[in-house]
Subunit: 592 residues, 2 copies
Amino acid sequence: MTNNTPSKKTALRTHTCGELTAANAGQTVTLTGWVDSKRNHGGLLFINLRDLYGVTQIVARPESPVFKTAEETKSEYVLRVTGQVTLRPGDNPNKNMPTGEIELDAARMDVLNISQPLPFDLGEHAGVSEETRLKYRFLDLRRPRMAQNLVLRSRLSQVVRNYLYSLGFNEIETPMLTRSTPEGARDFVVPSRSNPGEFYALPQSPQQFKQVLMMSGMDRYFQLARNFRDEELRSDRQPEHTQIDLEMSFVDEQDIARVAEGMMKEIFAYIGEEVSGPFPEMEFSDVMLKYGSDKPDLRWALEIKDCSALFKDSQFKVFSGALAEGGVVRAIKGEKGAVFSRGDMDKLTDLARKHGAKGLVWLRFKEGHWDSPTLKFISEAEQAALKDLLDVREGDAMFIAADKPAVAAQCLGALRKELIARLKPAQIKKWAFLWVRHFPLLERDAESGNWTFTHNPFTAPLPEEEHKLDTDPGNVRSCQYDLVLNGVELGSGSVRNHTRAMQEKIFALMGYDKEQVQRRFGMIVNAMDFGAPPHGGIGMGYDRLIGLICGTDSIRDVIAFPKTTSGACLMSEAPSPIDEKQLKELHLKIVE
Amino acid sequence: MTNNTPSKKTALRTHTCGELTAANAGQTVTLTGWVDSKRNHGGLLFINLRDLYGVTQIVARPESPVFKTAEETKSEYVLRVTGQVTLRPGDNPNKNMPTGEIELDAARMDVLNISQPLPFDLGEHAGVSEETRLKYRFLDLRRPRMAQNLVLRSRLSQVVRNYLYSLGFNEIETPMLTRSTPEGARDFVVPSRSNPGEFYALPQSPQQFKQVLMMSGMDRYFQLARNFRDEELRSDRQPEHTQIDLEMSFVDEQDIARVAEGMMKEIFAYIGEEVSGPFPEMEFSDVMLKYGSDKPDLRWALEIKDCSALFKDSQFKVFSGALAEGGVVRAIKGEKGAVFSRGDMDKLTDLARKHGAKGLVWLRFKEGHWDSPTLKFISEAEQAALKDLLDVREGDAMFIAADKPAVAAQCLGALRKELIARLKPAQIKKWAFLWVRHFPLLERDAESGNWTFTHNPFTAPLPEEEHKLDTDPGNVRSCQYDLVLNGVELGSGSVRNHTRAMQEKIFALMGYDKEQVQRRFGMIVNAMDFGAPPHGGIGMGYDRLIGLICGTDSIRDVIAFPKTTSGACLMSEAPSPIDEKQLKELHLKIVE
């Protein structure tokens, strides 16, 4: 992609602190950087000079005119040092640093800037609170790991762009000052000075604009887009986040999947990892059945099994009763889980209850025998069938939930995660991609009881199920697909509605009349009147992807200047009050 | 940069409408696109099918099953057509279109979507109001010229990125939700729901964050950054605009200039134009003297000449009087300007008055004689010296202003533009780049009379003039440089202050006490305490650059979804009122 060693020579330096090797010995060079550490050894002063690219050892000899300056330097002083590159004497090369073969024999040393003592040691940040790190973000970013996260984030963005350009995509900038919609309860809004009482909204995604671009004939669009959402923040959320957003015309679901897979292949190739498509695909309904989650972590094979058939006529009323009420009986195995104590089992049962289950049946298989407080309710034939179905072996445990399908899925899905965390089974792969396809088009809104979209209102129904929209809308599957990586939802896309008739039909199912549609989605339905092409696309969370790749739990570690969970930037002290004059110009007043 | 002909094959098409040639004759292909035009010729129906990549002629024969569908199609219907590629019969190749050798003999034709009649004809938009074009932006963008503007904008952004990556820059995203400052009268602000009464500001530029990135050791930063400014809009302004923003550590002015020049070379090479650096450099004071503007259009050589020395002891009191009061006498020649009538001269005099001049002396040189109402006040020796100094020849005109230096510069600068517009002298180059260097560091604020910065408060003074900060701050030149192209200010950059002492000294000159500095610029001055490196950078207006390259007067032609001069998006109808509930959650009330 890029030359890996571009010259970074400037007026102030000939080389960086990361590039000198034995091949440079004898050359006179000038380096600039920060005092990373300093030590006195046998009368000589050794300074480790650091920049983004590495560390080079500087030597100041007692007889040299630079010695006094070197003595006076302190941690994080900014230096400019000129001298000769010399091989480290004898047996001293440091194999742990790329510049470990050489040192710089300082002949001239200028202090370009001084530094106050740091509020924390850059080398030992483990004990430093995140609050302090965020307040002094400019120092936290000097830590090589943080700096390398940002470099990798940057380089991978260029991998993404090069890949998409190679497929004929164009990056098109969509507006940041957009229209607020009544749906936009979580919109950040921006008062317009020249239109008193009116507001722009910052985009939650470029969704409508990118669809309009397809309607304008732009054919293949992408954007590394900044999106905004004003909501309660959790550790993996930020008020602004970056999305790899793309849209294509004249495509089906598979076309889009192939583009996304090719992108992942390029990204992972850059970090030396091989991933290859097509990625596994599963129906939404299957994935809920087998893993109890719409974003299962398939680094582990562990599956939930349906055992409803085994218990249809069971004497155990908990099972047969649930089945009689339209429920299911499902089980999951905990390999080597027989080590769990009664206390452990109680905790796992609590977890299941937290996810809505009335209870949890557990069994341990130890020394050739089942062990469980509920064993007496399960016949020997049922025990044998279960053992067979779940391939239970010596030392394993098993957990059974009998409940409504959604509840059984949710509690066993949570249990699956917990079993993986506690029992640490072997990973079957390092990077587990999965397409989850065919989400339901509509679901009942919990509050109003009306139909509402599951992902976004522009998703098309599966063509072969369109006919059910009139009779059985809850069972119409959509062209919606999520891309999951290691249990994280990376992206979500769909083939969209492109005719006004279908789009209005779906809005009608959600209870919107024509006037409401016009007011809320006027731009996009108007554009559908003038020859909108079939189209679809996907948006992928870039912060999350980079977080996974950098191996961090917090996306704050891959964002240069993140906000806290209360939406504050501790470094710049945003947000802040504004003055009365400005409020007045905006025709606004602050009220309790 | 990219493969120019990536496959755009999808589930719905085998080729695009821009790629079939005689080499494809005999192949069965499927195209998708819009009905651009249709005509009936000898019983055959010819449809020009259009997509982003071109136009292909479709033939529907009367005997074919597709004929009826073809007959029913209308302008902008979306079609999918399968058939055989055939050479156009006999002498019919259309050399004006890349696909002009072939046509597609339709065997199957599906209407993928219909279209209502368009509100304006895509081919003839000259008479269409910009308001209509903006309301139906999705249609306006179907016009090939508009679409190609967006494609070129996109491609050039990748040229920029590839170039900067090749020099070791990293693109780092800075926050959009930043801190509002008291200076930020033109900030767009964003109320924070979770911090009632507090606001974020959208960035007017990433200036402070990019400097902090240098202080964090990131060494070379760039970003194609979205900037915001809530101000009265003119035809070349938008509330949000894109900037190529970069910053480098351990550099001087020349390092940054070379990077910017290399970028321009790459950009112009992409469009087949050769430009090469180093670009000419001029001192701000010289450029004002010679061209009467800090962004002169050097496609024309035309220069203002100082003739103060000629008139020191002149009998003409208008000249000698102005000189005695510390003013100047300057002149500009209008080549072939003797054609100007008295009426023309009156208009040019009005122009000079509009720019603050008390009057304008003009002379025409016709048939070997001077002609001017003020000729009698100018001695023959003065006339001869003027003719010599300005190299006046038969048929030329000359204009003289006697005034304070700033007024003379401004009115002759305006006159220079007008003379170029009216007399249309030959361009000496197509792309005239110019570095304007060493702007004054400070100027008097028109309102308060205090010193204020001319560009931004972080610009460093020229090192050799630092000593004058205490004694003569108004005459300290800065490390500020503007890049001008064809009379348009493309970008502005500087070497920055990197020590807290110098930064505070400059703030003190501007009348800020320590507490105000901390409140307004706390983030950046705090970071200066901990080893800030020498650094500098530049920001270049991307919309303007692309506008120049696309040869359009309006940056709205190179922005996908621009706003009107009142800040409205006519397509999405932003801004708009928000509901009471949302206002309440934001703790805001709208007042008169």
